[in-house]
Structure formats: structure tokens, C-alpha cells
Amino acid sequence: MSNNIVSKFLNWMKSAAGFSITATIVIAVLASIASGPYLLVNTIVTGGMLALVATGLTLMLGVLNIAMFAHGEFFMIGSLTAYYVFTPISNYIGENPESFIAVIGPLIAMAGAAIVGAISGIVAEKLVFGPLRKRSTDNWVMNSFLLTVGLSMLLINLHQLIFGADFKGIVGYWTGMPVSIADVFISRDRAMAFVIAVIVVSLFWFFMTYTRTGMAIRAVSQDITGAQIVGIDIEKIVLLTISLACALSAVAGGSLLFMYPSYPTVGLEPLYLAWFVVILSGLGNILGAVAGAFMVALLKVITVEYIGAGWDFVVPSALIMLILIFKPSGIFGSDVRGALDK
């Protein structure tokens, strides 16, 4: 029996997925031995948040066939909401530092970000994607993609118009001493950001795998006609998906507010990185996106460490171009690509 497992494992190792995951882990371990464990910590925190944005993006691609260019803007909406929710809370905490709000306040801000993100996703669907879906005859993927380009520009400039272009940031969510794990000091905010990412991604994975609604969403992503035949309400699934995807991105924005202060174009970097993840892991593949998020995070961290800050667009985009050229379906592959390839 054990022989069987070993041979299965070896086979998996030979596949692109197994190879790349193993390579990632090995490189991460080697790099952190060479330069210190903070590399590993940075990778894990960045990867956790990137996973949130990228799963939302890949969900939109898989279920709605929308190649979302405006996903970073929902990140921006999340961070903006968290800023406006958390500022009065932090004033209150400043007056009563011992109160129970000091622990729960940041969570309220993130929940607020998620709710506002979900609502804005629904508004976007009702005002923008819905009308296009009714009218679009052919070439839906390209047209909706260009539509999201317009949406992204609209949201960025609305932010600038209404809230101004200055940085709206906070000092930190949770005050107190940094957590120390194996001689590495991690600020509480970073640790919590990672914990939140893990919780949200695993809840989301559980929801997609085991609940009826999650199964319905997956069914729609595989075959819309088939899903309709077995009685799934497509309209409802579409609304649910778009609000989930936008809420995921907004949660990432909200919980990273201490790192990325809110300003009009804050969403562009997460957007680029999330696109790298999605191309790397294959469109519409949720678990793949989680693994891919850590790979891209590692790539970014290592590029910044060994080549220099600012090269973190050049090296990953060169690598992603290679992936697009030689393995356009991504390293984890996916069946969804056929639908997109029209």
C-alpha cells in the first residue's frame, strides 16, 4: 500500500504542479536560511492577502467569464471603508484603551469593508455587467474586460474626486508588542492579517466545496446550460458570486490598511499581482490560486531581496510571459479556459 502512495507522490512530483510547489518550498527555505527568516514571514503574509484577491478574481473568471480589471478598485473600496470605520473607533480606543473595543474594533472595520465591498459588487453587476449581459451578442469576454477597464478608471477617479488624492492610512490596528516566533518579530497587525487571510480562505474553500450554494456556483462555472437544467437560479448565483468576489478583495484591502494606506490607485499593485497569480495557476482554479498566490509572493519577496525594490514588476511579468507562451493554461491547468478562449 505504502508503495502505491509513494509512486503516486512521485507521479505528482513529476507534474508541473508538484514540481513548482516543491520548488517554491525549497527556494523559500533556502532563501530564508541564506538571508534570515523574515523572508519567509514576508512571503507568507503577502501570499495570504494575495490569495484573497486572487481567489476573488479567479471566481469571477470561472463563473461569470469576466476578466476583471477593476478588482484592485474593490481592494481600494475595502481599504477606504476600513479607514472611515476605524478612524472613529481608534479615537474611542485612544480615550478608553482598556475597553473591549480595542480588540474587536479592527474586526468591525474589516467586516465593514467586506459588506461595503459586497454591496458595491452588486451595484456594479446591476448597473454595468447586467445591462451588458442583456445586450451583448458575441465576444462577451473581451467586451466585459474592456468594460471593467472603464469601471476601474471610473472608481479610481471617483475616489480622487470625492475623497482626494492624499494617503488615508492608520498607524496600526492592534497596538502592543510584536509577536515573536523563532526569533523573528512579527508585528501584531501582520500576524493578524495572515490569520484573517487563512480563516477567510478556508471558510471560502469550505463554502465552495461542501455547501449546496457553493456547489451550485461551481456547477455554473462548469456548464451554465447544465446548471440551468437542474434548476439553479443563474441570476442569483451571478449576484452571489460577484458580491463574494468583491467582498474577498475588499477584506484584503481592509486588513492591509496598515501597510497600504488608501489612495486612488492603491488597487493597481494587488491587481497586477493577482493577475500574475491567476495566469500562473490557471483561470478559474480556486485552490490553484491559493498556491499560486504564495509562489508569486515568494517571487516578489525574493526579487526585492536580491535584485532590488522596483524590479518586482519586471521579473514576475517576464516569468508570467514565459508561462503564457509555453503553458497558457497555467501550471495547475483548468477546464474553464475553453469557455474563455472564444
Binding site: 445591462p131 451588458l132 467586451n143 474586460f145 472603464g150 477617479n157 503564457l324 507562451i325
Partner: protein
Amino acid sequence: MDNTITSQQMNPFDKLLDKLCLTPVGLLGLVLLFALPYIPPFNQEYMLRWLIYCGFIAAMSVGFDLTAGYISIVNFGYAAVSGFGGYTSALLVINMGLSPWLAMAAGGITAGFMGLIIGMISLRLRGIFAACLSWFFGLAIMGLATKMVWLTRGPLGLRTPRLFETDSNAPFYFLMVILLFLIYLACKLIVRSKMGLAFQAIGQNMDAARASGINPVYYRVFNFTVSCAIAGILGGFYAHFYGILTPDVMHTSKTVEVLAVAYIGGRGSLWGGAVIAFPFIFIMEIVRSTLSNLPGLNLVIYSLVLILVMIYYPGGFSYFYDTHIRKPKNKVLRYFLNGRK
């Protein structure tokens, strides 16, 4: 007008117009563009500056439309390729002492080479994947331009000598209009030839095109090369007009600006974007400068128009023109709008 009139029966004027791919109304528009700097509100220097920017976006949208409208691939790195041409041209002038005119051409050639590479590596990909690939390519070029500080001075910007040694914007404006017309003419001639037919076939259905004996490799790469070479020449113009070049010209938002104009003007028409750019960008510049206490308002209007056009009128201005204006009853008017075809 009868369509059976052959070219022998045309009078020389119509023949010339046909050779230049213009209709009488198009010629009138071109004459108007040349006369614009002498008409009172437009004869001020700052207005001319805006008009040059309009012309720049118009010409970019013509080149962009050659790819987006005909082979249905959105080149998302278009601004980056244009900036690459601009940087090549600027660096040649600064470091090698080349004349800006030659350098502009060199910028066009290198950008065309860039287009050749993008075209080659995106061959296997379709639709959204090709768009993503060109987008990442653009991001990579922009990252390089930002980081190669020893060469490009990074975000500080490169000071470039201008094409004409005057403070007046008028010669730049005339050059821009001439460039716009030449670019339009080149694209239109390509599209009118057998090649244009092949482009459209590839854009609509690649497999059917291949089955009828069209070699998509050649046509797609050719299309990319021409379109990117145009972007490179325009990038060179941009560099030697503004006198300063920062990596911002390569930003995706610049591509989006060109894309919006090309789509509002109408995909696959070439002239639509060029026509719409002048009033549209000009109004946007007015909004930007008069309501400077509301930063970003012009781009809000911009993106709203793009979204509304994409949803409710995907044909854009050229479709509107073709269906509602082009076929009037009056014979003279009809000749005026269509030429003698």
C-alpha cells in the same frame, strides 16, 4: 450614385481623393484642422498645446484600431511600446547626437521590432490571453524604464531636445496633423488591400480563416509590427514635443485613454477615433483646466462615456455615422459625404 462608375470615368479630383482615402467631407475636415490655428479662440498657445495632444491621441487611436478593430486583439501594452519608441529616440538624440527627425524614425523602427516580438510571442494566444500578454509586456518595459536610472534617469524624467527650435507650438501642430494624416493613409491603404480582408477574416474567425488558406502567423505579426511602429513614431514625437519624458507615458492608463477614444470613435473604422479625439479630448482638457478644484472630474466623465458606449452603443460614432448620416436623399450632400465611389 451608381456604384458601377469605374475609375476611368472619375474626374481627376475624385481620383485623387480616392487615392488619398478621403471623402469630400474628410478633406474639408483636414483643411479645417490646418486652418484651426488661425481661427480666433484656437490661436492661443495653450489651446494649440491641447490640440496637439488631441492629435497625438487621435493618431495613437488610429494605430491602435489597426490591431483592435481588425484582428480583434487589444494591445494593452500600446502606450508602453510608444514610450519605448520615445525613449529610444530621446536617448539616440542625447547620447549619439542624432537629429531628432532621424531618431523619431529610429524610434518607430525599434518599436516596430518590439511589436514583432509581441506579435510572435502572442501567436498561440487569443482574445483575452493575448491582451494579458501584451499588458504584462508593457508592465515589464515600464518597470525597466523606471529602474534603469543610469540610462533613463527613471522617474526624474529625461530632458529631450525639441524638434523645432521655437517657443511657438504652431509648427508642432502642423507636423502632428500631417503625421495623423499619413498614419491614417498608411493604415487605410493596408486595410483596403487584400491584406485588410485577411485581417478581418482572422479577427472574426481564426479557424475559418486558416481553412481558407490565410496564414495567420504572417498577418498577425505584420499587423502588430505596423501598429507598434506607428506607436513608436508617435512616442518619438511626444518626446521631442514636450521636451521631457517620464515612465508615466508608458502607464496602462495611457493605453486606456487611447482605447477609450478608439472605442467611442468606433472599432474597425480607423477614422472614427481620429474624428472623435479632437472634440472629446479637447472638451476633457477644458474641463480639467477650468474645474481644477475638482481633480479627476474629466476622467470620471471619460470613463462614464466609455462605459455607456460599451454597453448601449458598441458600434461607436462610426456606426452612428454610417447608419444615420451617411445616406441622405439629397444627391449633392450624398456626394459630399461619400465621395464618388
